[in-house]
């Protein structure tokens, strides 16, 4: 007897390939027939076929019905019901788009004067790329392959079937080699489409009914599904046409060998690839050393090609008018995805502009990179190790490249999730050993498996709990599953001989728990010794501080624990009794709560008194805004996600430990989190970089025009992290110039602006190699440019007085003389300090 399950589509983007493949993964486990009905359109789909599900064109809030019949229908129904209720709504996590507004494109003055040709596009991956235009062509069966009049339909179908099975093997092999990464996920999606019954069916019909050849059948399948997806109202579905095209390209090649190869794009110099579209496969085949940008007429922000481009950082524009038709292959061009335009017919001025843009971006990158390769520490020489939080071996490599000084949290549970049996000791050992090898002597803090609660495992069969966060999880379940835990510890102990391991237990709330765990570790160490397996006998065993009770027992815990690491996410949730995922109470989850800061200091000071190392590995550690408070806490280490590391190190280098400590004490004394936030903001203003420094004084600057000089002065502030939106600041400077020129005579100009995009008040001095026309009071060209950039928020503060003083000083000839001629930036800095009374 058939059973029905009705539901409303909970997915704002409708049922596109990703949710469809999630449903298919569930449905295919059962022998029962599973049919999905779209009640709005009356279309039905085989829930074991992704293409069929996708073709049902189910949109947000559509009424749907799943009909399960035959075989194991009871079990299938139970599983599907829980899937639809719990998982389905969350299986669509497309990245947010960065589509440009459709308003007027406001060009920077220097570029607008250059007079190059600009075509507007939606920037979907930011950045700027220069190169020659190379055309990528769409799917066309090569003319030498016959498509019709097959003599032996059976033979044609056999070719297709053989190629399909080869294709599936190829996907498996390739995915196996790559390990877990974006490309694997993508190939997985392609594999699901390729093994879809509907896909084969369309080709079989073409051959059987229309006597098409294998090539003709592939062309038909491509056309059929492209039309089906392309006609969809759903943007995400339309974008899947590229995936179909990719599979068909591959298939054609497998049937016909070299003869079936479509025109390939080969890059031999810096290139911008343009076309109607580009398939993910075509993208992956490009030499990324030469690929500097993508310009596509038709590809959305969620197409797999764009997702790949984003992960490889290739600047990309989509929806560009006049592409591909209006572009000349081989011509030099720029993909300016920061501005949202494709720039062609470059002249010298436009080239100069983009050379400056590239050096601006490179300057910032280099500066961050310089910081990221230095040990973490404050400007007054206080060390603070900056480490990374990771979950997989692959992430370790990226973390160290970004400047991580160690791994401050390796979440070992990733190894245990998404599988039906626990990983073997050997499997675990291999991963742990691999991470230690990647660390190359740097410390790696492994947290023992943190499961239960929100991370259930079917092979442990943990009871369902009404309140899992206050329930049976992490360390608390180890005694019941002692064999499982011992295997885990054994793998860790064995790996400890291969690098600098630290072992940490999650959710410690009492001293007894810590004692018990230590004794298990000791037992496994003894077993290793008996088996002659090498291990680190001085392995440090620590406690993660995330349950408030542990925070008040540091002295006692220190007898059992060699170190501590604060898990600020859970600690804050438990401390404030607020679930951060619940929007009604999430505001309470604020690390700036004075009570929480007091608690943190209590914990760190207690650890210090016991002479224990203490780090912090929650999200709090990755927020540069909070750095002054973290430095004030006097931690040994902070651990954050990899992308945050360069900025953390750069931020640290600008802080003074004594001042930070004072700030923390003042913050603790506040009554509300709002007061702490205000204090932090004030501190950021006051303690930011000084108004000027030798870095901001440049000589022999090459600028051909006023526009160029202003751009360079603003860019310099961007490179030094003193402003975050150079174009906004430039615009503000030009707005001021529009009132009247700031060239005040004697070869000097003093452009200035107040802008919210300025992060710290700054003075820039540019001495130009060749004076430029400025529209000055005395009609003389300008050789010295002094830029005053002022934060919008600042009123009558000390910096404004300095600016006023400087304005007065430049009225004096001897001051101008020194500013213009002093070659040594440091000496000029000292001179200005003296003159400005700093």
């Amino acid at each position: 007897m058939a059973r029905d399950l009705t539901f409303t589509c909970p997915l704002p983007n409708g049922v596109h390939a990703r949710p469809a493949s999630a449903l298919e993964e569930v449905a295919r486990n059962f022998t029962a027939e599973v049919v999905l009905l779209n009640e709005r359109t009356g279309q039905t789909a085989d829930a074991k076929s992704i293409l069929s599900i996708v073709a049902a064109d189910i949109r947000f809030h559509d009424a749907c019905r799943l009909r399960v019949s035959g075989g194991d229908e009871d079990r299938a129904m139970a599983v599907l019901e829980s899937f639809v209720r719990e998982t389905f709504a969350h299986c669509d996590d497309e990245p947010a788009g960065t589509a440009a507004p459709n308003g007027d494109l406001r060009l920077p003055p220097m570029l607008s004067r250059a007079g190059a040709v600009l075509r507007r596009g939606n920037p979907v991956v930011s950045g700027i790329g220069l190169g020659r235009l190379v055309r990528a062509h769409g799917f066309r069966i090569p003319s030498h392959l016959p498509t019709d009049g097959a003599c032996d339909p059976g033979a044609e179908m056999a070719k297709i079937d053989h190629a399909l099975s080869e294709l599936l093997t190829w996907y498996d092999r390739r995915m196996g080699n790559l390990g877990r990464c974006l490309e694997t996920e993508l190939l997985g999606a392609h594999r699901s489409l390729a093994r879809d019954a509907e896909f084969r069916q369309v080709m079989a019909r073409a051959i059987g009914e229309n006597r098409r050849t294998a090539a003709g059948a592939i062309a038909d399948a491509e056309a059929h599904f492209s039309a089906l997806f392309g006609a969809s109202k759903n943007l995400l579905l339309r974008e899947r046409t590229l995936d179909i095209e990719d599979i068909c390209r591959h298939l054609l090649q497998l049937v016909y060998g070299r003869d079936g190869e479509l025109e390939k794009v080969t890059l031999i110099e810096d290139s911008l690839v343009f076309g109607e579209s580009l398939t993910p496969g075509q993208f992956l085949a490009l030499d990324r050393n030469f690929l500097k940008g993508l310009v596509l007429a038709d590809a959305g922000i969620t197409s797999h090609t764009v997702i790949l481009a984003r992960s490889f950082g290739v600047p990309t524009l989509v929806g560009v008018l006049g592409v591909p038709g209006g572009l000349v292959e081989g011509a030099e061009a720029v993909v300016d995805a920061d501005l949202g335009a494709l720039v062609t017919e470059l002249n010298n001025s436009a080239r100069r502009y983009y050379a400056l843009e590239q050096s601006r971006l490179a300057g910032r990158r280099d500066r961050l990179l310089r910081h990221s390769q230095r040990p973490g520490g404050t400007c007054d020489g206080h060390r603070l190790e900056v480490a990374a939080n990771i979950s997989t071996l692959e992430e370790a490599v990226a973390a160290f490249a970004a400047g991580a000084e160690g791994i401050g949290l390796f979440r070992s549970e990733m190894l245990f999730l998404d599988r039906h049996t626990p990983p073997s000791e050997e499997d675990q050992f291999r991963v742990f050993k691999g991470v230690l090898a990647a660390a190359d002597g740097r410390p790696v803090l492994f947290r023992t498996v943190d499961i239960g609660g929100d991370k259930p495992l079917d092979y442990l069969q943990l009871p369902h709990e009404p309140n899992p966060f206050l329930g049976y999880r992490a360390l608390r379940i180890y005694p019941e599953f002692e064999v499982f835990f011992r295997t885990h510890i054994r793998a860790l102990v064995r790996a400890s001989g291969w690098g600098k391991m630290k072992l940490m237990l999650p959710m410690v709330s009492t001293v007894e728990e810590m004692r018990w765990a230590r004794q298990i570790v000791a037992g496994e160490q003894a077993a290793c010794a008996a088996a002659g397996q090498p291990f680190d006998s001085s392995l440090a065993i620590g406690a993660m501080i995330e349950v408030p009770s542990a925070g008040f027992m540091i002295a006692e815990l220190a007898r059992e624990a060699d170190f501590f690491s604060i898990g600020s996410n859970d600690l804050l949730q438990y401390f404030m009794a607020a679930d951060r995922a619940n929007s009604k109470v999430a505001a309470l989850y604020d690390p700036l709560q004075p009570a929480f800061l007091r608690f943190l200091r209590t914990i760190v000071e207690a650890a210090r008194r016991q002479d224990r190392w203490i780090g912090l590995c929650g999200e709090m550690g990755g927020q540069t805004r909070l750095l002054p408070l973290l430095v004030g806490l006097d931690l040994d280490e902070i651990s954050a996600t990899t992308p945050a590391i360069p900025a953390l190190k750069a931020g640290l280098a600008g802080l003074n430990r004594a001042l930070c400590h004072e700030l923390l004490l003042r913050a603790e004394a506040c009554a509300t989190a709002g007061e702490v936030a205000a204090l932090l903001k004030d501190f950021a203003t006051g303690s930011r970089a000084p108004l000027f420094s030798p870095d901001l004084i440049l000589s022999e600057v090459e600028a051909e025009t006023k526009e160029e000089a202003i751009k360079q002065a603003v860019d310099l502030l961007y490179v030094h992290d003193r402003l975050d939106q150079p174009r906004a600041v430039e615009e503000a400077v030009w707005e001021r110039e529009a009132a009247y020129s700031t060239g005040f005579g004697h070869g000097f100009a003093i452009p200035h602006c107040k802008s919210a995009a300025v992060l710290s008040n700054s003075l820039v001095f540019l001495r130009l190699r060749q004076p430029v026309h400025w529209g000055s009071l005395d009609d003389q060209p300008v050789g010295v440019v002094i830029l005053l950039a002022i934060r919008d928020a600042d009123g009558a503060d000390a910096h404004m007085k300095v600016f006023a003083k400087l304005a007065r000083q430049v009225m004096h000839e001897e001051v101008r003389e020194t500013i213009a001629k002093e070659k040594d930036s440091a000496a000029l800095c000292a001179f200005l300090h003296h003159k400005l009374g700093l």
Binding site: R736, A739, Y740, T742, F744, G745, I750, H752, C753, K754, L777, D778, L788, I790, G795, A796, M800, K801, F803, A804, K805, A807, R808, Q809, V810, M811, H812
Partner: protein
């Protein structure tokens, strides 16, 4: 001669102070005594009192925007110039005294 002056430019960041300095410098050079009030981003500084204004023979108003508390100058002879004039050719302003 005793002179008072007010300087004020659109943003109040640079030219207000450059003009003030220039007027003070030129007055010194020409042997006059001068007090210059600046109306800039930091508000009114070196404010002219009623006594300052009464004791002066002329007020130089080097301003691009409306002067704050302008009624103080109702009963004194004023020389009104754009701020830029004070930078470009201060002596010409003093020649009009």
């Amino acid at each position: 001669m005793k002179i008072v002056a007010v300087t004020a430019c659109p943003t109040g960041i640079a030219h207000t102070y450059m003009a003030a300095e220039q007027l003070e410098k030129t007055a010194r050079k020409l042997g006059h005594s001068i007090k210059v009030e600046t109306q800039g981003a930091m508000g009114i500084e070196n404010k002219l009192s009623q006594e300052d204004i009464e004791a002066a023979s002329v007020a130089i108003m080097a301003v691009d925007i409306a002067v704050e508390e302008g009624e103080r100058f109702d009963n004194i002879r004023k020389i009104q110039v754009p701020v830029q004039e004070a930078l470009k050719n201060p002596e010409a302003i003093f020649a009009r005294i």
